[in-house]
Symmetry: C2
Subunit: 346 residues, 2 copies
């Protein structure tokens, strides 16, 4: 049993103040410090977790909306945010977990969590950074893997475009595309990210969308023969420009539309008829529905990581006090690579 078990300790949480409309501000969240007794009630099958790394995900913005019929459960104002994270098991009454295990899965944004019905994945490979289980070895990784291989049906030599390409998912999609023998171009929001795409992740080309006043022209420049596969992370104007540049029988994997999450009324997509003209397949997906591929995915990716044939860039902020800024940075593009919040030492 871990040394701290049985003690009452302080437990910081990052709390949502109220539902959000429009762009969230740091003041929409606050840190609350209370105490927690590190013990599991008798008769419970709970696990007691020390949270180590929290994943900053764009979808968390959607859960800040007041929306009774939303697809994504809204947060409760006054309660902690939640998402995914990596934790260490301090104590367990659940047969699947034991003290000292590292796990990843659903996580509250707090230092310690008592989880009554744990649905966590045990981490068996600890020779790679544990924080990777919020990203390349967690749902962002499954997202890239399922989205690219299952949804996009890539073939060698095809032309692939990835938006938000230096983010948690995009950087991996680009590397999968290169391993498949595709030509791949990424867009990102700064010169630093563009350099990363070309020099670190091996994208054939990359551009800063903020410096292109005509996205259609930019895409024509990089894809004079058109785009076979678009890995969609942003929506909005970029999607409209992409639709104009798709090739016949192109495929669009609908992973996210981050450009729309802060808008009460999203911009309309005007070029959707190209889905018909070009016989395009556009398909939304959720990594959760591909979780069954996780063992196969790990077998695929771990050797590449160990041989540095796939690399991963993280942007690690520290402490729940910096959680709101880290989370909101996703929407201004401040993060470089996968945004992680580290809240405790391993």
């Amino acid at each position: 049993m871990a040394a701290s078990v049985g003690k009452e300790v302080s437990n910081k949480q990052l709390i949502l103040r109220d539902y959000v409309t429009g762009s969230p501000k740091e003041s929409d969240m606050y840190v609350k410090t209370s105490t927690i007794k590190l013990e599991i009630p008798n008769g419970s099958k709970a696990v007691l977790l020390k949270n180590l790394y929290l994943s900053c995900d764009p979808v968390m913005r959607i859960r800040m909306n007041r929306a009774e019929d939303s697809i994504f459960a809204s947060y409760t104002p006054g309660s902690a945010l939640s998402g995914y994270g990596v934790a260490k098991v301090l104590d367990s009454r659940h047969p699947d977990y034991k003290e000292g295990d590292f796990v990843w899965g659903p996580a509250e944004w707090e230092e310690y969590s008592l989880v009554e019905e744990p649905n966590l994945t045990k981490i068996h490979h600890t020779d790679v950074p544990l924080s990777y289980y919020t990203g390349i070895l967690g749902y962002p990784g499954i997202t890239a893997y399922a989205g690219f291989y299952e949804i996009c049906s890539p073939k060698k030599g095809e032309y692939v475009f990835v938006s938000s390409a230096s983010g948690a998912v995009g950087q991996l999609v680009g590397q999968f595309a290169k391993l498949t023998g595709c030509y791949v171009v990424g867009s990102a929001g700064s010169q630093q990210k563009v350099d990363l795409l070309k020099n670190k992740f091996g994208f054939d080309e990359a551009f800063n969308y903020k410096e292109e006043h005509d996205l259609n022209a930019a895409l024509k420049r990089y894809f004079p023969n058109g785009i076979d596969i678009y890995f969609e992370n942003v929506g909005g104007k970029m999607l409209d420009a992409v639709l104009l540049n798709m090739r016949d029988h192109g495929r669009i994997a609908g992973c996210g539309m981050t450009s729309t999450y802060n808008l009460d009324e999203p911009e309309g997509i005007k070029n959707l008829m190209f889905i018909i003209y070009k016989r395009i397949r556009m398909e939304g997906f959720s990594a959760i529905e591909y979780y069954h591929l996780y063992p196969k995915f790990l077998d695929h990716i771990l050797p590449y990581i160990r041989e540095s044939k796939i690399v991963y860039v993280e942007d690690i902020a520290e402490g729940l006090e910096n959680g709101a800024a880290a989370l909101l940075g996703l929407f201004s593009g401040r993060n470089v690579g996968k945004q992680v919040l580290a809240i405790a030492c391993e």
Copy 2:
């Protein structure tokens, strides 16, 4: 050899006056009468056709645009419209066709055509109306068949919505859906069409979209559990409302977006993120790419037609003088059923 062969006869054509922007008018087209000598030049492998029925298709509007890089070849101002039709072979130097054959395929909007490189399908079943080969037994039929069975992957018990449901394709999709054991609702633009959908084609429900000020509410009324399959013929506001009402893993077959064809700047689709939220597959297709299924399709549908288990409603206008009105009626919804233009007796 047909009696008229060798003679010089008058040959009316329906000519496009100039490229069109916005909504086309009847005056954008005119009938021109010239003469044609009904003979095939020596050394040619042409066929000489007497055109009987011409198909009025929404896509013809797109071809009236001046668009150098359009997917659909623009018409040439001063030349006849073209599309698909049914014809009788008056004379042939081509080994695949002989005098007296009935054929369907690409057709000029004129009474007689000399076709140098014929790419026509021979009609073997003449116990059904020949005009059907512009519709239920031509590309609209293949469109409904491929779009519903191949793109929509329907399962018994699923909820199906068809827009433009009384049109050339929609009426057939609805009947295929009923044969598959689906619940199917259609939208159309008049009470007469709504009655037709319910009483003739066997749709479970139908509504007049022009009388619904809130399409989202209308769809919620007919689909309290949501829509599994949407057969998309119109685009625009209807698509936006449908996206709000799709079920998880729904499928949208992108067949046409007639509401957008007369707009220089189409309305934007605002709810596209539901493709991601609901993991929807939206896929555009073109019947031409499914032409290889035509024999299988005929085997499937001819018995149903002969037993009146599938019915088909045509709206037949007569004479090239009425061609412009018939064609433009597609966009005001004046036609009831498949719009055909009959230009000669069989």
